[in-house]
């Protein structure tokens, strides 16, 4: 009996140790900032963007990414995010051409990022500056971050034997040194601004206030998925610009918190229930076989 109990306790303790931390770890453990905490941000104004894609090129040059060329060695601007293109400018136009807009796709750098909460090896983490960064040396390639990201930002190198996840880095090394990201620096029309998130939100609000005809009354990223460091202004509604429909203002990590919190409860209650049930059945058998006096000594297994 003693051996069994010890073994069981050991197993239980190992599991509990592994999961209890998950249940009690506060959200700040990952450097996730509540909306109020100051951090760096980027404001992209689609109405000022001329679609020149200088940002796209500057990003690739700055990060030393080689553009992929077609079979004839010709280069074309890619249409989708990929490991060689962390930001993409797309154009939207409605059918009769009366409404159009450019939009810049890149990592939204969520204040409480779903990808980081989904990563089982902490390969994705948020820096205090607000950049969500990826550590290739930890990644096992499970691609759960891609499931978790509502903006479908992380991409995977399906063409490599030793693949990695890739996404916009927010130029975390540059912003740590007080510089702005490559894309921001390269924009010729000032459509992308970089700075303190609160300041940029005030700036965005005043732009909408000053020119209500130019903008839809919505700063995308102010509240979406708990708030993001990439903020957007546009003249058309954001569902037309490739942003996910039906995304709530709840941070993505909150969606799994209740489940993770229930884990220690299940362990404790199931352990008690299983042990109790086993003892009950043992006793019932002992009673029915007339050996009630020696219940403790009854062995339950073969």
């Amino acid at each position: 009996m003693k051996v069994r109990r010890r073994e069981f306790l050991k197993l239980g303790a190992a599991t509990a140790a592994a999961v209890a931390e998950a249940a009690v770890a506060p959200p700040k453990a990952r450097g996730a900032a509540p909306e109020a905490e100051p951090c760096q941000a980027m404001l992209y104004d689609a109405t000022r963007c001329i679609g020149c894609r200088a940002c796209q090129t500057a990003c690739r040059q700055g990060l030393g990414l080689t553009p992929s060329v077609d079979d004839e060695g010709l280069y074309e601007q890619p249409a989708d995010l990929s490991s060689t293109c962390p930001t993409v400018i797309s154009a939207y136009r409605n059918e009769d051409g009366t409404e159009w807009s450019f939009v810049k796709h890149q990592c939204m750098h969520c204040l409480d990022p779903g990808c980081a909460s989904a990563c089982l090896v902490n390969a994705l983490e948020r820096t205090p500056d607000g950049a969500v960064v990826y550590d290739v040396d930890k990644c096992i390639g499970c691609r759960y971050c891609m499931i978790a990201c509502p903006f479908e930002v992380p991409t995977f190198e399906y063409d490599k034997a030793v693949p990695a996840i890739s996404k916009c880095t927010f130029c975390y090394d540059r912003i740590a040194n007080g510089e702005v990201p490559h894309c921001v620096k390269s924009c010729p029309t000032g459509a992308i601004r970089f700075g303190d998130r609160e300041t940029l939100l005030r700036e965005a609000r005043s732009r909408i206030h000053n020119e209500p005809g130019r903008y839809v009354d919505h700063i995308y990223g102010e509240h979406e998925a708990g708030g993001t460091a990439a903020l957007y202004l546009a003249g058309v509604t954001f569902d037309k610009l490739g942003f996910p429909a039906g995304l709530s203002n709840k941070p993505i990590p909150d969606l799994t918190k209740a489940f993770l919190n229930s884990v220690p409860l299940v362990i404790i209650l199931w352990a008690a229930f299983g042990t109790g049930l086993h003892r009950f059945v043992q006793r019932r058998e002992a009673v029915s076989s007339g050996a009630a006096a020696d219940v403790e000594g009854v062995e339950g297994e073969p």
Binding site: R4, E7, F8, L11, G12, A14, T15, A18, V19, A22, A29, R30, L81, G114, S117, C119, L120, V121, A123, K138, C139, I140, C142, R143, Y144, M146, I147, A148, P150, F156, E157, Y158, D159, A161, V162, P163, A164, I165, P244, G246, L247, I252, P253, L255, T256, F259, L260, V263, V266, I267, W270, A271, G274, L277, H278, Q282, R284, G300, E301, P302
Partner: protein, 389 residues
Amino acid sequence: MNPASISSTLRTRPSPFNLVAGLIVLAGLVVLVIRFTQGLGAVTNLSNPYPWGLWIGFDVLCGVALAAGGYILASTVYLFGIKQYYPLLRPAILTGFLGYAFVVVALLVDLGRPWRLPYPVFYSYGVTSVMFLVAWHVFLYLTVQFIEFSPAVFEWLGWKRVRSWVAKLTIGATIAGLILSTLHQSALGALFLLAPTKLHPLWYSELLPVFFFVSSIIAGLAMVVFESTISHRVFRDQVDSHHLARLDGLMLGLGKAAAITLFAYFWLKWIGVARGQHWELLATPMGLWFLLEMLGFVALPCFLFAWGARTGNVSLVRVTAMLAVIGIIINRLNVSVIAFRWDYAQRYWPHWMELLVTISIVTVGVLTFRWIVRRMPVLRAHPEYPEPG
């Protein structure tokens, strides 16, 4: 096996089954060489919108669900003390153990950097991830299942002392198995909790973990019936005659349990729909697909199990078990692949090489099961260790 028996084995002509199985596994190995030299894209249709395909949807999600028989029967026999199910226990635990072992094999194929599989257990702890929970539990539960099955191995090897030592761990292992299974069966559903904008609203629910856990009970019960149906045909020589005599009663009992669980599951699923207020979506094509899953693969097997158990129709219970297993497979594929990004223009459809790898892994699983059953006391009791009760 000594050299003489190896050469005599090689001289005998392989049976058609072995020949086909060998060819499948060989072809699968060729695909794996391509996959590990040229990347996942060379053999799969996976893409950035669909990072998970057949290997996660079927090999992992269905594999784990269909391996649930191990914890279901171990709890039935050792915790609830319903000992007459003991003859079904060892094959169920073996199915469970092999199921999990081959889930890990499938993961090694699917992971971008599979050599880092031990990282979440030994190196870097992402404790806020449901996937972290799954990784730990699969690791621990494989250990537990090995302990649960090891008496059969030690009886086969004739290691009496070790056998009596591991037998003492049975109750502890059973309770640990119940806890671990509850948590990671539900965790596989919880994986999708953070994708409310990607999973179709009829399948997305905050109750996903509950759905996955309850349906794993159905999967476990149905798989025990299904597996015993096959085993007792293929390995007739292995089965004790008095087992066969009692088997029909056990099948009916499992059918009754499955009917009750399916009944509960059916209503739980509607609570999910009701909470989200998605009734109007039932009239869409995806809604009809949802209704087909609910009526054809939950309600129908529920009714047939109940009918078969009531009228003592064992064949009906056996056939219904297959229907229920297909239902579980449809459900897991719906959540992970079919209803996931259902609205995307370029839908994922598995590449034939993905399918081939899946079939290869299942084939190796079946061959391993056969190898063990023919040698170890799984379907029959070891003469020196008569069954309890």
